[in-house]
């Protein structure tokens, strides 16, 4: 804890303490309640027939044999669901000029990627439903497809959406001015083209949904493995014409999401419609092969970028073009252009240069949709920037630390606006650089590297600074017309026994939300953490809010809980003051006891206040109405985003004969403001780093020229595994945001933001003696051997 003591450092303080997650034992004991575990009476199972073609016209569908199979209740095609579900379009108003085709749960006459669901079967069991799929005959007429980014951009290329003018979904430009002048006068210019493969989330628990429509009550209940139950309540209500209050979305235990579980998927919308049509609960759990062809993919960028520097190594300007291919349509309701938008706005973010120009082009192709996945845009922006910085350092003969130290925005130079328009409240690049240098024992690593090279062992050291976007305000989605909340709500109650219940709109999907909320509430109220029960993920019960995405749970949800707990404490102390005939300001609560604020002498347990308020209100002064349930909503104000920052480092070894890379050690210094639970923050960072390392070395959705995903299984799509992961050392700098009392910013994406950039720099460092250079991820043995011209 490097931050000075504040009002948060009090007896009973849980903020800043590594306390275990209250739900960990339950999950370890196998008592988790995941949607895939759920069995409702009269529940049926859905399975989907998928398109084998990337682009085809549906000529006819013959479902007769499938309908006749025993145990089959319903076979639905596009028309069946189009009658009850209105189409959706994945555009937002603040992305001017963007287009996308309207979508329905199942297509009416055309498929646009291989793997698109075409027909739904509902049966007594999943196995029977799959038997029926084999009996369906779809007659397709194949249409020309565009798979590759360059082909899609050519004039005269087949159109992903026939009738549109081109395959461009969206274009955007930024120009701070002065770029051409800066490049004209620069002493050094470094440039490169960088490519980033498609990858996907691979959550431990796949997408899962049970929709249960009750015609007698006009009530839709959806058990949905999602990060954003309120968003889906709104969507199911509007697209199926059911009043919002009669749609309940329950998202209890979620087995990982990483941004993948907040988008609309055709199958999920279809399952809701199927339940409405059948009046019975319908369950669908994506299996792994389906996940690979229907979950969102992410990344898939090609960035051309150049950087101008003066003779001293000061960065003067950057000029960037990002091309990204997003599949056949833009994702709903958050679109598929946010990643590109963040790439061009985050490039160069740690550095103090003034002149920046960027162009973004977002392209359609016949593949599954891409959209927001952990650290949206960050790894691309970070890798492009940091690789150019390393190239510049090599050109100038500067050490990677030295060039960064020269160029990062100084810690005392805030507030500051980036050339892309981001407003930074306070970042700590210099402090982080220093900390990392010491933690890595950098000079010793370099000495060892030099010594090993003489023996033919090629180690690489890479570092990468980053800026992360957290705590988003309505500037993120709300201004574009999306009904996605950036506020959160919490209801905190004192129970009759003197315990505390907190209902809150942020959700838990394995990252420890419930733990930190209970810490904050216990801390602010002055009770033992065990006494606080946190309830999340049920739109019928918890207040409306944004839930969990873009690193907002701690910063926004946490502040909501803090303010609600403070309000409840005021109310408790008001009643206590009446009972004790004191001023409320003379009292405090410690360990569930009302105490004298000055001496901490116990006066009355809060359980006694609850007993009196709930059961013996007759003993309170006339006119007293105890308010022991408090609801509070909080929306971020002030800065539109709470930016965080940090730096990562890694050490690795390249086998220059085989191209294999061994990760030796990874280092993170991160500043997420106020840390609520250091253990959870560290594990979030480690998990994020591992995902970044996966992107760097292993993960890629590979397609054939004909638009087929060719590695859509866990045998062929390589996720990072424990054996290949290095030890990850973590340190913190704390710069709390002053926008909130809590001071917390997000930390969930920081690990992913810079890990792949670090590896890219380290591999290039290792290959430097050979004059070889790699500017693409994932970095596979094939990439390395090609760069080394070994075959």
């Amino acid at each position: 804890m490097s931050a000075p003591l504040t009002s948060l450092d009090r007896p009973n303080s849980y903020i800043g303490r590594s306390v275990p997650r209250p739900n960990a034992k339950r999950l370890l004991a196998g008592r988790g309640r995941y949607v895939s575990d759920l069995r409702l009476p009269r529940m049926l199972h859905a399975a989907f027939l998928r398109s084998p073609h990337p682009h085809a016209k549906i000529v006819s569908i013959d479902c007769e044999q499938a309908r006749a199979l025993e145990g089959v209740h319903f076979v639905a095609t596009g028309e069946d669901l189009a009658k009850i579900c209105t189409p959706w379009t994945g555009t937002l108003d603040h992305f001017k000029g963007m287009t996308s085709e309207p979508q329905l749960p199942l297509p009416l006459d055309r498929v646009a990627w291989a793997g698109q669901a075409v027909v739904a079967v509902v049966a007594e069991s999943r196995a029977i439903a799959e038997d029926a799929l084999e009996l369906i005959v779809v007659d397709y007429k194949e249409l020309p497809s565009v798979i590759d980014l360059d082909t899609a951009r050519q004039s005269g290329a087949p159109l992903v959406n026939p009738g549109s003018a081109s395959n461009v979904c969206f274009r955007s430009q930024l120009d701070s001015g002065g770029v051409d002048d800066a490049f004209a006068t620069a002493t050094h210019i470094v440039e490169g083209e960088f490519s980033f493969g498609r990858h996907t989330a691979v959550t431990l628990e796949p997408r899962a949904i049970v929709a249960d429509y009750d015609h007698s009550a006009g009530m839709l209940t959806v058990h949905h493995a999602t990060q954003t139950p309120y968003q889906f309540q709104d969507l199911y209500s509007r697209h199926y014409g059911i009043p919002e209050a009669r749609v309940r979305v329950i998202a209890t235990d979620i087995g990982g999401s990483f941004g993948m579980k907040l988008h609309v998927y055709h199958e999920d919308m279809a399952v809701v419609g199927l339940s409405i049509l059948l009046g019975r609960p319908v369950k669908y759990v994506a299996d792994r092969t389906e996940s690979f062809v229907s979950d969102i993919h992410a990344r898939d960028h090609r960035v051309r970028a150049r950087m101008a520097l003066n003779a001293d190594g000061e960065i003067l300007a950057m000029d960037v073009q990002d091309l990204t291919a997003i599949g056949a349509f833009s994702t709903y309701p958050r679109t598929s252009v946010v990643e590109g938008n963040q790439v061009i706005r985050l490039i160069g973010a740690p550095y103090g240069f003034k002149s920046y120009r960027a162009a973004l082009e977002v392209i359609f192709q016949h593949k599954v949709q891409t959209s927001q996945y952990r650290a949206v845009g960050h790894p691309i922006a970070c890798a492009v920037t940091e690789r150019l910085v390393d190239m510049a350092a090599a050109r100038l003969g500067l050490d990677p630390f030295a060039i960064r130290d020269k160029n990062v925005i100084a810690d005392d130079a805030y507030p500051r606006t980036s050339p892309t328009g981001y407003r930074f409240e306070a970042l700590s690049h210099q402090a982080c650089l220093q900390r990392l240098h010491a933690m890595m024992d950098y000079d010793a690593l370099r000495t060892e590297q030099a010594e090993l090279r003489t023996r033919g062992i090629y180690r690489g050291i890479g570092i990468a600074t980053f800026v992360e976007i957290t705590n988003p305000s309505p500037a993120f989605y709300g201004v574009g017309g999306a009904r996605i909340s950036s506020q959160d709500g919490a209801t905190v109650s004192l129970t009759p026994s003197g315990e505390v219940r907190c209902l809150i709109s942020v959700t838990e999907q394995g990252q420890g939300t419930e733990a930190i909320i209970s810490q904050i509430v216990a801390d602010q109220l002055g009770v033992v953490q065990d006494q606080v029960k946190v309830i999340t993920g049920d739109t019928e019960v918890t207040p409306h809010g944004g839930a969990t995405w873009a690193c907002r749970g701690a910063g926004i949800g946490g502040e909501t809980a803090l303010q609600a707990a403070r309000a409840l404490k005021r109310n408790i102390l008001e009643i206590a003051a009446l009972i004790l005939q004191e001023q409320p300001s003379a009292l405090d609560i410690i360990d569930g006891q009302v105490v004298d604020a000055s001496t901490a002498t116990p006066r009355l347990p809060i359980a006694e206040i609850a007993r009196i308020a709930y059961f013996r209100s007759d003993t309170l002064p006339p006119g007293t109405q105890a308010q022991l349930t408090v609801s509070h909503h909080f929306a971020p104000q002030g800065y539109p985003f709470a930016f965080t920052n940090g730096i990562q480092g890694c050490s690795l070894e390249v086998d220059v004969e085989t191209g294999f890379i061994k990760l030796l050690k990874h280092f993170v210094v991160e500043d997420c403001g106020r840390i609520i639970n250091p253990m959870l923050v560290d594990e979030q960072l480690r998990g994020g780093v591992v995902q970044g390392l996966g992107a760097a070395l292993f993960e890629e959705c590979r397609y054939s020229d004909t638009g087929q995903l060719i590695n859509g299984s866990l045998a062929d799509y390589l996720v990072p595994m424990a054996m290949e992961m290095p030890d990850i050392m973590i340190a913190h700098v704390e710069t709390p945001t002053k926008d909130t009392a809590l001071g917390a910013k997000g930390c969930g994406e920081a690990g992913t933001a810079a890990a792949s950039a670090c590896v890219l720099n380290a591999v290039n460092d290792a290959l430097a003696p050979f004059g070889a250079s790699i500017n693409s991820i994932p970095i596979t043995p094939t990439t390395v051997l090609k760069a080394l011209k070994r075959f």
Binding site: E130, D287, E657, F660, E724, P781, L785
Partner: protein, 286 residues
């Protein structure tokens, strides 16, 4: 995905298994560890009407010496390759390869007979059977026969097994003094199918290699012996020139498949690197 419905029969003897297989014509499959078959069923890549469980047939079990051979029952599980002392002593190449076979959960169920019968060209044990000059004991309705590993693997997933036949055991010539082994593979993640793998058994007189058998996996449609490299090395001392000549000879021994992520030229390069490293280890007395 869920497997299509099938019937299940547990056989107590080889004869019971044969009878069940005949009754179901071509639509029966034997199942032992199920580590390849069950995923294929779940993906509906295979949909037999009947699964015949052979794991309770006593005759397919057990590891013991039989004359100049070590008899390893077909039901011997991969994990037993790691724990069985007879295998460590008399078939150390199998012991060396076993840790590279998938992951512990798979090794706990997968069987040697299943791996040989499937003949996955990327699997470790079929190739090691080649390197060891093992003999595959096969039972059919007309009796038992022994087929040398060299004659067993015919084409992609195609072996000398006739429909309805079962592997009873794998017979490995006993490891002798003067012999050395080496094994390694190049896989991007521990437990994955390798991009290239290799095992070898060499018989030495002093520093000279009298005879060497080198088998590669993940290099083509079948597990493959590097016969030209072997002949380069036979009778030689493993000096740099001979190692280089053996590496060069691999161009004739291996025909790596076309693959978008590991181009043939790269796979050949990796095979040469691996061969060089393993011969180096042999020379050190691996």
């Amino acid at each position: 995905m869920k497997a299509r419905a099938f019937s299940y029969f547990r056989a107590r003897t080889i004869e019971e298994a044969f009878d069940a297989h005949v009754r179901c014509a071509d639509e029966a499959r034997y199942i032992a560890g199920g580590q390849s078959l069950v995923p294929a069923l779940s993906l509906r890549l295979q949909a037999p009407r009947l699964l015949i469980d052979i794991t309770h047939i006593a005759e397919l079990r057990g590891v013991r010496r039989e004359g100049e051979f070590l008899r390893i029952g077909a039901l011997t599980r991969h994990c037993e390759m790691l724990s069985e002392p007879l295998i460590a002593e008399f078939a150390p190449l199998l012991r060396a390869a076993a840790p590279f076979v998938a992951h512990p959960a798979i090794r706990n169920r997968g069987t040697l007979g299943g791996s040989i019968a499937l003949a996955d060209p990327a699997a470790e044990f079929p190739a090691m059977a080649l390197a060891l000059d093992a003999e595959i004991e096969i039972a059919g309705r007309s009796g038992k026969r022994r087929v040398k590993a060299d004659d067993f693997f015919i084409d992609l997933f195609e072996t000398a097994l006739e429909p309805g036949e079962l592997i009873v055991a794998v017979h490995v010539p006993l490891f002798k003094s003067g012999q050395r082994i080496a094994f390694d593979e190049l896989a991007r993640r521990r437990g994955d199918y390798a991009q290239v793998g290799c095992g070898m058994l060499a018989t030495y007189t002093d520093k000279r290699v009298d005879d060497i058998r080198i088998a590669f996996f993940s290099v083509g449609s079948v597990p493959t012996r590097a016969k030209q490299a072997e002949s380069v090395l036979a009778g030689a001392v493993l000096d740099a020139a001979h190692v280089a000549a053996a590496q060069a000879a691999l161009a004739n021994d291996l025909m790596p498949p076309d693959s978008d992520d590991v181009p043939p030229a790269m796979r050949l390069h990796l095979a040469r690197v691996l061969l060089g490293r393993l011969l180096g280890r042999l020379g050190e007395g691996a």
